[in-house]
Symmetry: C2
Subunit: 309 residues, 2 copies
């Protein structure tokens, strides 16, 4: 048997992403030992019960002791305090990474606390489901998904390569990107869609009781997809919006201008304008389908990532 890629890996936060990573590392023999860090003793006991980690700790500095790789898997607003708390326990030569959906803020929040000789390679796996918590994870979550790494200028090449290899072994395609560019691209592909889904489901939730029942009943007509997105973890998404404010507000402004134009076309009965706008969007869908990103994921059958068309 080959030696694992890392002798010891510590996961700070073991929810959907962290627990999926633990499962994938087990399956592929990527870590000699996995330590988990959770907030309460109760959560720690639960991680051991689920056999996700070899050891579980509520003290971040203790959790990262002797770790070769530490991955922050928490809502992004929690990064700064955790970085500060774990810093004294980090060994020289350790690699610190994360899985957050915003990359400029994690560099701002974590980098200043890292001791010299510790390598920081921020990352973001484009993978997830609407379910939360350590039970929701599964080893195949990252298969055929992109993982974007955003190493700060002057990052250690070897550390970068090791983190990339971890993800590739989990079945992902690794891309390198500038952190600001990442935040802008994700603002439109992920953050704005989630904000909109939360909004429309919230709008429906504010209808009168009788109408609300019927919204649920007839949700198959389009609304259903939005409810799935809007069932995502509220804390994680709160933090995304607070930490990628500029890019989200910029994309939201563009969206508002576009929907106002359509609203006006509906009000004035401008059928040609509506039709031409609705035609334009098919092009983008074709691109999505061609790139094979149109698979429907069923959390109960994780082995089967189905493709549409």
């Amino acid at each position: 048997m080959n030696r694992p890629l890392f002798d010891k890996v510590t996961l700070i936060g073991v929810g959907l992403i962290g627990s999926s990573l633990a499962r994938a590392m087990h399956r592929h023999g990527l870590a000699g030992e996995i330590a988990g860090c959770a907030r309460t003793e109760e959560s720690c006991a639960h991680l051991l019960e689920l056999e996700l980690c070899d050891t579980a700790h509520s003290d971040p500095a203790e959790a990262v002791q002797d770790a070769d790789l530490v991955i922050l898997c928490v809502p992004v607003s929690a990064n700064a305090a955790l970085a500060e708390a774990m810093a004294p326990g980090l060994k020289r030569g350790a690699i610190v990474s994360d899985v957050g959906s915003v990359k400029q803020s994690v560099i701002r929040d974590v980098d200043p606390f890292l001791p010299e000789g510790v390598h920081f390679i921020p990352g973001h796996p484009i993978a997830g489901t609407e379910h939360s918590g350590p039970e929701a994870g599964f080893a195949e979550l990252f298969e055929n998904r992109y993982v974007i790494l955003t190493p700060p200028p002057g990052s250690d090449e070897e550390a970068l390569e090791k983190v990339a290899q971890l993800w590739r072994t989990c079945g992902s395609t690794v891309e390198i990107m500038e952190p600001g560019h990442h935040d802008k691209v994700l603002a439109i592909t992920s953050h704005l869609p989630h904000l909109i889904a939360y909004t429309i489901v919230g709008t429906a939730a504010n209808l009168e009781e009788s109408e609300r029942r019927e919204v649920v009943k007839y949700s198959a007509s389009g609304f259903r997809d939005f409810t799935r997105i809007a069932a995502s973890d509220p804390i994680m998404w709160r933090d995304v919006f607070l930490n990628n404010r500029e890019a989200v507000l910029e994309m939201l402004q563009r969206f508002n201008e576009d929907i106002t134009a359509l609203q006006r076309a509906i009000r004035w009965g401008e059928g040609e304008m509506l039709e031409s706008r609705f035609q334009q969007t098919r092009e983008i869908r074709r691109g999505v389908v061609e790139l094979g990103q149109a698979g429907t994921f069923d959390p109960r059958e994780p082995e089967k990532v189905k493709k549409e068309e």
Copy 2:
């Protein structure tokens, strides 16, 4: 073998819905004969080639000759002209129905043209995919789906029951609703979600070329679901918005107020407000999942309507 429910059924328009209905009627032996009506001779030939109909006609009055049931399956703006054109061919006692997504306008547009002794039972199957055309249909499309019938006051009870029985045999659950109420409920569950999906995909389409490529590449992060909805038939949806203007504008106004409040909370860093809004939407999702409306539909495996949790 039992006598079919209808001796002759005519489908005016044989696209995704019409062709699915033809297939379902064949499978369940619901019609002694099926006539199709399409705009061009070429389309008529294609319908016969696909063996969807026994006869195909480009003249609506000819198509409805001797029909016991006529179902309009066209974009809703086309209803008025077709009703006028087919009226002279309708036999006394015939039932006219439709499958349009807006119900007040179809009553406004069709009813005035129907001769005395013809029964009008408007309907709307809450079913569909993002694909269009007669090849896209399949017999199982209506299984486990709702069909809403909106009979005008004083409708013939027997005609209503026969149309309901047709849909039940296709596997649907039939509900009766007042047309205005239907249009309001569907404005929020279907029309607004489609408008929003078209808008955000359009917003992305207007980004610079380099960003647009990455939007497609990283679409798995939330955007993908919107591209699917926004790939729906442009003409059908143009007509929905033109014909359900009041209800759509009302719901859009509510949505705008709600997203403006979230925008403000993001700008001012109001985390508690964001979190509480994002919590609220999980309730609705629970309702959707409990009612079994959360199935993911894969057009390539129509037999398998999968349920999420």
